[in-house]
């Protein structure tokens, strides 16, 4: 009897604590180093998860990050499987039609990774070449825009990088931070791959947290928390930890 009572008490206490702090579930495709990735202990780490944790602290909500495959991440948002996407989603006009975005939290350019010594230094050098990118990313859209090139879509950017390294591709396009991580710091690829060039965009490309269309409540919480983290200097600390400078 006593045990049952205790259990009930624990259950009530647990439910009460949940009710107090709002839980926001984020989806992240943790295959995008150093923005979000899985470490050796299966934890989701990177710039974005740390930013989300800091925002949760500042904004007074509980953040839960779910590792979700990129292809279908937007479909999951639309069907309410999670509240937001924290997965380096670039804010584009096409996406704005289907979902809402928080304020931007990062600026990216598209970086072109090539094999060391390939001599590709501009878009003209990619003519007639095979370019890989992750499916449905702005990198893939950029690859499609390059005249005379053959774009190929991959499930993960890591697979595209492997194929580039194995000689089946001539270039891979992805966010500059990710491109730099693979081409410059990754011990497996730093010697064989290099950063060819950065594509200059027509208008700056920003990353934002995506939420379901019309979910103004979550957008508000996220914007407030993001502003607080930026104001307190926490943002710069996290930025310095992952990108130096």
């Amino acid at each position: 009897m006593f045990k049952k009572f205790l259990l009930a008490l624990v259950a009530v206490a647990f439910m009460a604590s949940v009710a107090q702090a709002k839980t926001i579930t984020f989806a992240a495709d943790a295959t995008w180093p150093p923005m979000e990735m899985v470490d050796a202990h299966k934890n989701i780490v990177g710039f974005c998860p740390e930013l989300v944790a800091a925002m949760a602290k500042a904004g007074g909500f509980t953040a839960e990050i779910k590792n979700t495959a990129w292809d279908g991440i937007f479909a999951g948002l639309a069907s309410g499987k999670y509240d937001a996407i924290a997965s380096s989603v670039s804010i584009t006009d096409e996406r704005k039609v289907a979902m809402d975005f928080s304020d931007p939290y990062f600026e990216v350019k598209q970086g072109v990774v090539v094999r060391e010594g390939s001599g590709i230094t501009d878009a003209a050098g990619l003519k007639g070449k095979t370019i890989g990118a992750q499916i449905g990313t702005t990198g893939y859209f950029a690859a499609k825009k390059i005249a005379g090139a053959d774009p190929k879509s991959y499930d993960e950017v890591g697979l595209a990088i492997t194929d580039l390294n194995n000689g089946r591709l001539d270039a891979v396009i992805c966010d500059d931070a990710v491109a730099a991580d693979y081409a410059l710091t990754n011990p497996n690829y730093a010697k064989s791959l290099s950063l060819g060039f950065l594509i200059t965009p027509d208008s700056p490309e920003y990353l934002g947290f995506a939420v379901e269309k019309g979910d103004t409540e979550t957008v508000e919480i996220l914007n407030k928390a993001l502003a607080a983290v930026k104001a307190s200097g926490e943002y710069d600390k996290i930025f310095a930890k992952w990108f130096g400078k």
Binding site: G132, F141, S153, L159, D163, N166
Partner: protein
Amino acid sequence: MISKKKVTIEVGDGAAIPRKKDRGIVDAWWLSFIGAIVVISYLCLAKPEPYLRILKFVFGEIKSTPWETLLSLWDSGVGVTFRVTILSIMVALVLGLITGLGRLSRNRLINLIASTYVEVVRGIPLLVQLFYLYFALGHVFRNLPSLEEAQVLFAAWPGFVTYLLSHGCDELKNMSPLVSAVSAMGICYGAYMGEVFRAGIESIDKGQTEASRSLGFTRAQTMFMVILPQAWRTILPPVGNEFIALLKDSSLVSILAVADILRRGREFASESFYYFEAYTMVALVYLVITLVLSKAVGSMEQRLNFYDRD
């Protein structure tokens, strides 16, 4: 007196092959076929945006000249799916014949090699095999010498060996995704095909071998001139089945960035966010293709069973 009753149990992921005997399946076939066609046409006519656009994205566009239209179909998702399937089944048939004969061989070593191949391949999921052959072996092949290096390396060997080795190295080093996908699918299905060949050959009465050997045929002659021609009748229908199963499994090659029907559908969905619509169309296209093929295999089976109708 125990009456012998022939029971056939078919388990597999092949499509249900319609037979004349069971009216139910024939009706089910027509129902699904007409249903699929009606749904596709309705969706494309009533909501051309996005359905017709998806269909065009998967099938290719109708161009001004028939030649360009054909070229567009060849490069489209459907074209790539058929290319992968047909090439894979050809690889699988060759491997299957060798494996099937190997499994029946009296040579212990050959038998062991063939059986091990079947065991290993059947024990690994196809998706894992595809990843393995494509990414893991791709990594190994990358370190092979290039064409010029190999020509120098094998210069001491006789001319044609040098040619074979250096070009072989070059081919492996620069293996295209389509070739990798086809060899992975072919190697996997070759093992299954080997079992089909073995069962087909074993189904031929032993008396045939005995008669043929008594007439002075060698073992090889017996196999290729007496047994195999008769075994084809048993082997072909399951091969047709495997072909359909392979066509469906070929959707797995979309992970290797081979632009087949599924990959095209996913590319469409990931850009336009029409997930439901794109996958509906992809499913219907696959359904129509497998239904047509299963009907073809069914009628082929009917013709081959001409002599033993019951």
